[in-house]
Each structure stands twice: as structure tokens, then as C-alpha cells.
């Protein structure tokens, strides 16, 4: 019984190490191929449209409701010590520094990470990846590198849009429901906003984008065993990317703001 328990722990540690090792190798190889020609610009473009443009609705909706609820909640909180005036500042800081990148990241992880894992996974189990190799095309260059580039470049833009929409959501609730003066609200939003607030959010977004694409591609690339394997890859891609986003979020915040 005791031994059995130890065996389980041992197996878990070994499996963790195996995955960590494989992911590290995958990351290094992918990065090498990101920076060496040939570059498949057509693929990068297609992925940029998919990630940047077609994610706009879902990210926009997430952002506007987050901004709205943020205004409501912080108003309730601050009313308890008569600091309602801080609502606008709280909304803009929370959106740009935290909620914009994290929520957009999580939504895109669900949308794009999953579709990358499923697409590449299906290509793996139907031998399309082997076919690429026999046609003298490196699958890392053709499939992985364009996705890494596109996600890393597009997520900051998405987050910038999310920031604006989120702040607008807060403005709507603030002026129509909580009775703020519109001019004052906008002034208070901009007065206390610093460059680093937005910049740190965009850096986060780029890192999250890279992680989403990396984990999505990795799980798809390594998948095996037909439909079930692809299903597993998709699930692991979303769960893995989400957890990494939250972890990376803490680390980046710490690097930027703790002195």
C-alpha cells in the first residue's frame, strides 16, 4: 500500500519531467525556426487575421462587461468610505494592467489555442505532418512559426482594443447609472493613467499570445491516437495555456511593479 503510493508519486514526477523536457525542446526548436528563413508570410497573414480580427467580437464583449461590472463594484466599495470619485481611475488601471490582458488572454486561449491544437493534431494523426516533411517543408517552419509570430504580434493589438472598450464600459455605467459627469469621468480616467500601466499590459499580452500559440502547437504536434488523441490535445492546450497565462501574469506584474 505504502509502496504503491510512492510508485504513484514517482510516476507523476517522471511524467512531469518528461513533458517539461519535451516542451522545452519543442520551444527551443520552434524559436530557432521562427528566426531562420524561409518565412511563410501567407501563413502568418492568415493566422493574424484569424487571431486578431475574428477574436474581436468575443474579446470586445468580455471587455465591455468587465468594465461595466468593475464600475458598479468599485462604486459600491468606495461609497463605504466616500471615495466614489476614484471609480474612473480604478476602472482604467484595472483594465489596462490586469483585466484587459488576462481576460483577453483566457478568451483567446479558449478560441485560438484550442483550434491550433485541434488543427495540428488532426494533421498529425492523418499523416499530413509527415506529408509536409516528404514535400521538403519543415513542419515547424510551416505550421508552428507562423502561429507563434501571429499570436505574439496580434494579442497586444487585441488587448489595446479591449482596454478601450473596457474603459468605455465603465464610462457607460459611470455616467448613465452612477450619475458621474461625463467630462469629469473622462478627465479622471486620463489624469492618473501612466504610460507604464498600458505598456505593462501590452507586454503581458505579447507573452500570453506566445504562450497560447506555443502550448496549442505543442499539444497538437505531439498528439497521437485518432479522434480521442486530438480531443485530449485540445483540452490540454486550453488548460495548459490558461494556467501558464495566470502564472506568467503574476511573474510579469512582479517584475514591473515590485521595487
Amino acid at each position: 500500500m505504502n509502496l504503491n503510493f510512492l510508485a504513484i508519486i514517482g510516476r507523476m514526477v517522471l511524467s512531469f519531467l518528461r513533458h517539461a523536457g519535451r516542451l522545452s525542446t519543442f520551444t527551443v526548436v520552434s524559436l530557432l525556426h521562427c528566426f531562420t528563413p524561409p518565412f511563410f508570410l501567407r501563413n502568418i497573414g492568415r493566422q493574424m487575421v484569424e487571431i486578431g480580427y475574428y477574436s474581436l467580437p468575443v474579446v470586445g464583449l468580455t471587455a465591455i462587461f468587465s468594465g461595466m461590472v468593475l464600475a458598479l463594484q468599485s462604486h459600491t466599495g468606495f461609497a463605504r468610505f466616500s471615495a466614489e470619485g476614484a471609480v474612473a481611475t480604478v476602472v482604467v488601471l484595472s483594465m489596462t494592467r490586469e483585466l484587459g490582458p488576462v481576460l483577453a488572454g483566457l478568451m483567446v486561449a479558449g478560441r485560438i489555442g484550442a483550434s491550433m491544437a485541434a488543427e495540428i493534431g488532426t494533421m498529425r494523426v492523418t499523416e499530413q505532418i509527415d506529408a509536409l516533411t516528404t514535400l521538403e517543408t519543415n513542419p515547424y517552419k510551416y505550421l508552428v512559426a507562423p502561429r507563434l509570430w501571429a499570436a505574439t504580434l496580434m494579442l497586444p493589438l487585441l488587448v489595446l482594443v479591449a482596454d478601450v472598450i473596457g474603459v468605455f464600459g465603465g464610462y457607460l455605467v459611470g455616467t448613465y447609472k452612477l450619475g458621474f459627469n461625463p467630462t469629469n469621468y473622462v478627465k479622471r480616467t486620463l489624469d492618473y493613467l501612466e504610460f507604464v500601466d498600458v505598456f505593462s499590459g501590452l507586454v503581458k499580452a505579447a507573452v500570453f499570445g506566445f504562450l497560447i500559440a506555443l502550448i496549442g502547437c505543442y499539444n497538437g504536434y505531439m498528439s497521437k491516437g485518432g479522434a480521442q488523441g486530438v480531443g485530449q490535445a485540445t483540452r490540454n492546450a486550453v488548460v495548459g495555456a490558461s494556467i501558464l497565462i495566470l502564472t506568467a501574469n503574476y511573474i510579469i506584474t512582479e517584475l514591473f511593479f515590485s521595487r
Partner: protein, 257 residues
């Protein structure tokens, strides 16, 4: 140079975990020759093909193409080696995000940097060679039937006029007539290109039609090699059983009743 086999496989072993799939395979394929490997399901046929191509790394043994060791090639040398190959996959393995002509012209566009307009013309010509009309060029693979997909796969494999073509179960999953059409196409392509071909199949009708020589693989080893005509009365009980498709014989299917 003349006596050197195009493909020389020596003592190739490959295991997946505890399961040994290839256990010392030796096989030669001469220039311009068509060799067909027959064998039951799960006897390592596909793995052998993938080891020869370098898609899988053999645990031991050597594979030489034109006398050049392939197992440890990397980068440019590997690309040069792959340049000699074309392969038709079992499920055709067409890229479903691309149109039919982009599939066929894939290597011309990406490998040889041919302008897209010229590549399209070549693709349409190759499609005609495998009996497909130019209208299918702009369809996507999902809109095609299994037999048409196989033909597109064949067109893709021959588009860059490779020296060596591999066929992985070219007739599996097709009706007998379509299977024969594919067999004819394979024979035609070989005659036109003068290519060396290595095929694996468990379809004896297909093997008889396309093979110069037949090799039988069983339990990870080549147990018999001979001329295509000799396969009918090989004197080898394993080959006999397979060729005549009998349930009784030295080959025991791992069945549980």
C-alpha cells in the same frame, strides 16, 4: 555505381517501448525497380517505410540511398535526400486547408520557388495525368471522394518528378475497379518517370500488378524475397498462406475467441 542498389536497407531495428516492430530488416531495391512489400496488418510495413524516409529514426541498422547513409543526415543534406522522394500516403494525407492544385503544386511553390501561376499549370497537367479534369483543381480535398483523393495524392507525389516513390497501401479502402485504376496509374507513372518504387500493401491483386519483385515481412523481418511471378509457388508456407489468404497455416492471427 551500376551495381549499387538505389535503396539499401541493412539490419534496421525499431521498437516502440517494449514492442519490437522491426527486428533486423535487410532489403535492396535496384534503380528503376519496383519492389512491393507484403505482409499482414501490424507487421511493421508502415514503420519500415517511415524509417527508410527518415520520418522515424531506426534504433539500429543503416539505410543508404544511392550509397549515402540517411539516418544521421540533418539540415541541407536531409533536404537534398528528401528531394529524391515522393510519397503517396495511405489516407492520401492531403492538406485540407489548401485547394487541390495547391496540394499538387505544394513542393513546386515552396521547395522549388516556382511562381504560383506556373505551378498551377503544372498541377493541372499532373491532375490530367492521373485522370482528373481541371475543374477539380479549385476544390478542397474534403469535397473529393476517396478514390479522387488518392489520385490527387498520387499527382502530388509525382509533381516534382522524384527519383524514388513510396506507396503506402495505395489501394486500401477503394473498390476493386478504382483500385485497379490506381494500380494502372502507378505503373504508368513509373514507366514515364523511370522512378524506383517501394510499395507496401496487403492487396495481392495490387502487388501482382505493380511489382517486379515481392518481399514478405513477418514479425519484423523479411522472410521471403523473390520475383513477382515466383510468389504463387514460393514453397514458403508463410508466403503461401498469405498469397492464398487462408486462415489456417503457420501465421497465427492473434485472436481470442
Amino acid at each position: 555505381m551500376t551495381d549499387q542498389p538505389k535503396i539499401q536497407i541493412r539490419g534496421v531495428c525499431k521498437s516502440f517501448g517494449p514492442k519490437t516492430v522491426l527486428d533486423g530488416v535487410d532489403l535492396d531495391v535496384g534503380t528503376g525497380e519496383s519492389v512491393v512489400i507484403i505482409g499482414g496488418s501490424g507487421t511493421g510495413k508502415s514503420v519500415l517505410l517511415k524509417c527508410t524516409l527518415g520520418l522515424l529514426h531506426p534504433d539500429a541498422g543503416s539505410v543508404r540511398i544511392d550509397g549515402q547513409e540517411t539516418a544521421r543526415l540533418s539540415g541541407k543534406d536531409r533536404d537534398r535526400m528528401l528531394h529524391k522522394f515522393g510519397m503517396l500516403f495511405q489516407g492520401a494525407a492531403l492538406f485540407d486547408s489548401l485547394t487541390v492544385w495547391e496540394n499538387v503544386a505544394f513542393r513546386l511553390v515552396h521547395g522549388d520557388k516556382m511562381p504560383r501561376r506556373d505551378a498551377r499549370e503544372v498541377a493541372v497537367e499532373k491532375l490530367r495525368q492521373v485522370g482528373l479534369s481541371p475543374d477539380v483543381a479549385d476544390l478542397v480535398p474534403a469535397e473529393l471522394s476517396g478514390g479522387m483523393q488518392k489520385r490527387v495524392g498520387l499527382a502530388r507525389a509525382i509533381a516534382a518528378e522524384p527519383e524514388i516513390i513510396f506507396f503506402d497501401e495505395p489501394t486500401t479502402g477503394l473498390d476493386p475497379i478504382m483500385a485497379d485504376v490506381i494500380n494502372d496509374l502507378i505503373v504508368d507513372c513509373r514507366e514515364q518517370l523511370g522512378a524506383t518504387t517501394l510499395s507496401i500493401t496487403h492487396d495481392m491483386a495490387s502487388a501482382r500488378k505493380i511489382a517486379d519483385r515481392i518481399a514478405m515481412i513477418y514479425h519484423g523481418r523479411i522472410i521471403w524475397v523473390g520475383d513477382a511471378q515466383a510468389v504463387e509457388d514460393s514453397g514458403n508456407p508463410y508466403v503461401d498462406q498469405f498469397v492464398h489468404g487462408r486462415a489456417e497455416g503457420p501465421i497465427k492471427m492473434e485472436l481470442r475467441r
